[in-house]
């Protein structure tokens, strides 16, 4: 785009806000349809067991109940088989055996697995009836963690013979042959936690005898439709997926879950609209979990601090099944273990284990948050061992601007090569140190002041964005001269309408108010790819940009056809007017001529936003409580479309990361029973936990791979948090020789490290 941009780059107040601030948002539970029934899912209270019987008779006779469906009812419609949820990302034939049935048939493998669906006049009645469904389960030994899984004593899939699903390998150079004067190996762990969006999941499905409409679609409606259609034996064209407002995505909301089949199934069987809204306990139990992995990591360094090799063995607890995007965290942790650093030799094996816990999926910065914790912790240990300042250690090892594009490790099955696209990583580090006032704060390093130890740390990160293969858009000029932009991107609360409006307004040189962005639903475009992997701004924005370019061409063509103007001489002016030798067509006239254009943007190069974060913490040795005194993060997103929303993404991501580093834990006991089923047990950051978060967004290193020059920026904030906080704690407690190696850094854990 050009230097004449009026809107791109400006802190435009969000368009969405006018609805959302006034109570006019429309989330899935706000949808009421005539004759609508309510579904409630009966879930397994057993972690692992064989289903001996499900007695639905009493429930079926309860007031208001229309139907109770079990796996048998669903299998009866599928020749004895129940549909399974396919892998959306990085599918492999050998993973198909571990796909989740949309409802348990013979065996349950985690607490919360669907056993039956009750449909009633009201949700309360459905819940009353659900409590009367009698389930008999013959308990099998639970598999509570990777360690137990690896023993293969109790098998999630007996026919497979082992709980190990697959081992991904990321390779670069020859790490196994790398030698150097300094070697250290440590084991680190990250706990199970996840997005826990403020709005729980939900769907309203409606069958009119011919077509199925699913309201409440999110994230990837086209993909979800493509998965759902064969399960229901319907052509995709007979299913409309309609987006609603989405109360937070973060990777979790909008993937295909069992209910994405069960609710439409019930609606079609009953020929009535059926609503299902996940309650908070179900949300904690069963919306994709993430993050739980252990890593044995070895570093080989030269005596000057250059990292010569990283060797890792990661165990990923994927829960009971391989869900739609479960392959992403184990692949990412391996591929991105080196982060923004120049590491010539890498060998990481990432083994996925089945356990009797809820299945995993992606959560903001999947695999990257974990990788950064493992790597940055070990880097600080190595720097200290080598007598090198931790900042200097990073300066030495960051990928240099002149090395771009820089190849990362290649991960196998299926093979994926990656390269960092552009950037001056060192500049971001120096900027962060300056803004954070690192040199002044260093005086406090490790000191005990008024009963609290102070520590500071710094860490560098990259985030991936702009997943392909492509995105689509269409721009139509309406008869009143206003512009409608249809986008394949989806809204997950990130402000996609505002950003795409800014891009369209500049591209077409029209005021923001003239543009309306409609997005996501399968009714707008023939195909669309949605919002994940920080792709909406880059991919959706570039598609809109291309559509705008095409629209101008269509205007010229239309003017030539209808008014015999010479297409090559038609000038497109401000306000989307077309002029030719003193004659002019207004936007309204163009709209009456039905001028419209499609555009798409195809891309197989990921963008890599990058940055550095620094933290200052205190630790109370008496209680183990960590307080965050200051946090500064710098991220270069290539091109800033809207500084308000870009910074908003970063600060929000940082605080989510602090939750993961310090508070949040989807805990299970040794029997596979779930312990974090309330928001009083799953502890997310609140308004007074982390009052000092500062963020700076830069746009100094445009991506060479898209016309906007933008890079996905929705996830970077979260990526370094675990590593930076743990390193600051380690620095604070250096005199006590405390080395935190496992998240979350809870007061009892820190206290035990100090006093143990």
């Amino acid at each position: 785009m050009t230097a004449q941009d009026k809107f791109v780059g400006a802190a435009i107040e969000r368009i969405e806000d006018l609805r959302l601030l006034t109570g006019n948002g429309r989330y899935v539970d706000d949808i009421h349809r005539p004759g609508m029934l309510h579904a409630v899912i009966v879930r397994s209270s057993a972690a692992h067991g064989l289903i001996r019987g499900i007695d639905t008779a009493a429930a079926a006779g309860m007031p208001g109940v229309h139907a109770v469906y079990t796996g048998r009812d669903i299998a009866a419609e599928g020749n004895g088989r129940v549909p399974t949820i396919p892998l959306r990302l990085a599918p492999l034939p050998e993973l198909e055996a571990f796909e989740q049935n949309v409802i348990a048939l013979d065996k349950v493998r985690y607490v919360g697995e669907c056993l039956a669906v009750v449909v009633a006049e009201t949700q309360a009645q459905a819940e009353d009836a659900a409590a009367e469904v009698n389930v008999e389960i013959e308990a099998l030994p639970a598999v509570p963690d990777c360690e137990a899984a690896a023993r293969d004593k109790s098998l999630l899939f007996a026919e497979h013979g082992t709980n190990a699903v697959i081992t991904y390998v990321a390779r670069k150079g020859d790490a196994q042959k790398a030698v150097g004067p300094y070697v250290r190996k440590e084991t680190f762990g990250v706990q199970r936690h996840s997005a826990v969006t403020m709005e729980t999941r939900g769907l309203v499905a409606e069958w009119d005898g011919e077509r199925l409409t699913v309201l409440g679609a999110a994230k990837v409606p086209f993909s979800t439709r493509a998965m759902l259609a064969p399960m229901l034996n319907l052509p995709p064209e007979r299913i409309d997926m309609i987006e609603s407002d989405v109360g937070g995505g973060f990777g979790v909301r909008g993937e295909f879950y069992p209910e994405n089949f069960l609710v439409p199934f019930a609606a079609r069987r009953l020929k009535r609209p059926v609503k299902w809204v996940e309650d908070r306990r179900e949300n904690l139990l069963g919306s994709n979990h993430s993050r739980e992995m252990q890593c044995e990591l070895e570093i080989v360094c030269a005596s000057d601090g250059r990292v010569l090799a990283l060797l890792g063995a990661v165990s990923v607890d994927c829960g009971a099944y391989m869900r739609a995007n479960a392959a992403v965290p184990p692949r990412n942790v391996a591929q991105f273990l080196s982060g923004p650093y120049d590491v010539p030799n890498i060998h990481v094996e990432s083994t996925v284990y089945l356990t009797s816990k809820a299945p995993i999926g992606t959560y903001r910065g999947p695999g990257r948050f974990e990788a950064d914790f493992f790597r940055e912790r070990l880097f600080d240990m190595a720097a200290r061992d080598l007598g090198i300042d931790p900042v200097e250690f990073r300066r030495i090892n960051l990928v240099k601007a002149g090395q771009m594009p820089y190849p990362l490790a290649t991960v196998d099955q299926p093979e994926k090569r990656e390269e960092l696209d552009s950037g001056d990583y060192r500049a971001a580090l120096e900027r962060c140190l300056a803004e954070f006032d690192w040199d002044a704060k260093r005086a406090l390093q490790g000191r005990l002041v008024d009963g609290k130890y102070h520590g500071i740390a710094v860490g560098c990160f990259i985030e991936g964005g702009a997943a392909g293969p492509k995105e689509t858009a269409r721009i139509e000029i309406e008869e009143d001269g206003s512009i409608t932009v249809y986008a394949g991107s989806t809204n997950v609360g990130q402000g996609v309408v505002t950003v795409l409006t800014q891009i369209a307004a500049d591209a077409l040189d029209v005021p923001l108010e003239r543009i309306r962005v409609l997005h996501g639903s399968t009714t707008y475009l023939k195909e669309g790819y949605g919002s994940y992997h920080s792709r909406a701004t880059v991919m959706g924005g570039s598609a809109v940009l291309n559509a705008a370019t095409a629209l101008k061409e269509r205007i010229r063509e239309a003017a030539a056809t209808e008014h015999r103007w010479a297409a090559g001489e038609v000038q497109i002016g401000p306000g989307l007017t077309a002029s030719f030798r003193g004659q002019m067509l207004t936007a309204a006239q163009l709209g009456q001529m039905k001028v419209q254009a499609d555009g798409e943007f195809a891309n197989h190069h990921h963008t890599y936003a990058y940055g550095t974060a620094a933290a200052h913490v205190t630790v109370d040795p008496g209680t183990g409580r960590i307080e965050l005194v200051d946090y500064f993060t710098v991220e270069d997103v290539g091109r800033v479309i809207n500084p308000l929303t870009a910074r908003g993404q970063i600060v929000g991501a940082v605080v989510q990361g602090l939750g993961g580093a310090l508070l949040e834990h989807l805990a299970y006991d040794g029997e596979g029973q779930f312990l974090a089923g309330t928001l009083a047990d799953y502890l997310m950051p609140a308004a007074d936990d982390f009052p000092c978060i500062r963020a700076l967004v830069l746009g100094n290193s445009p991506s060479p791979h898209n016309p906007l020059g933008a890079k996905g920026g929705g996830e970077g904030g979260i990526v370094p948090v675990g590593g930076v906080i743990a390193n600051a704690v380690a620095a604070a407690l250096a005199s006590l020789k405390v080395e935190p190696k496992t998240l979350p850094l809870t007061p009892p854990r820190i206290w035990a490290l100090i006093h143990g």
Binding site: E13, G23, M198, G247, R280, G493, A686, A687
Partner: protein, 169 residues
Amino acid sequence: MLKALKIVFELNGNTVEADVLPRLTLADCIRHHFMQTGTHVGCEHGVCGACTVIVNGDAVRSCLMLAVQAGGARVTTVEGLTPPEGLSPLQASFRRHHALQCGFCTPGFLTTAHALLTREPDADKERIRHVLSGNLCRCTGYINIVEAVYEARSAYAAKPPMNATAERP
């Protein structure tokens, strides 16, 4: 099923009545009976604060109040804080500060902040943070919310709030 009870209360300045079952929470009554869906339900166990409404001037969790307990009360939701045109100063401050992303928790923050500033227009940032700690937001990291509420104080200090259904004697 048990018998429905008649309740009459004031919702955003209008007298409303309904026959409700005792088991119906005020949140569900407002949302699914009166179809004012601006009030959101995030946990149904009194932790997240998304369902906060103002009852007789006090911010309360409407998932932890029965509809039958609202009989005779003045209830204000986000719809009641919204002027006929545009945004209230508090809402405008939220927009200016980018104090919302997905918007799901936002009505609860607005009602809580409105109740707070109506009573304590001089609340400092620490007080604002403490009060807002009863509302969870997963998107913003809270920094901008605190700034937005802090900046909106002047609208409460200078004059009675623009839309004061919660405060009418």
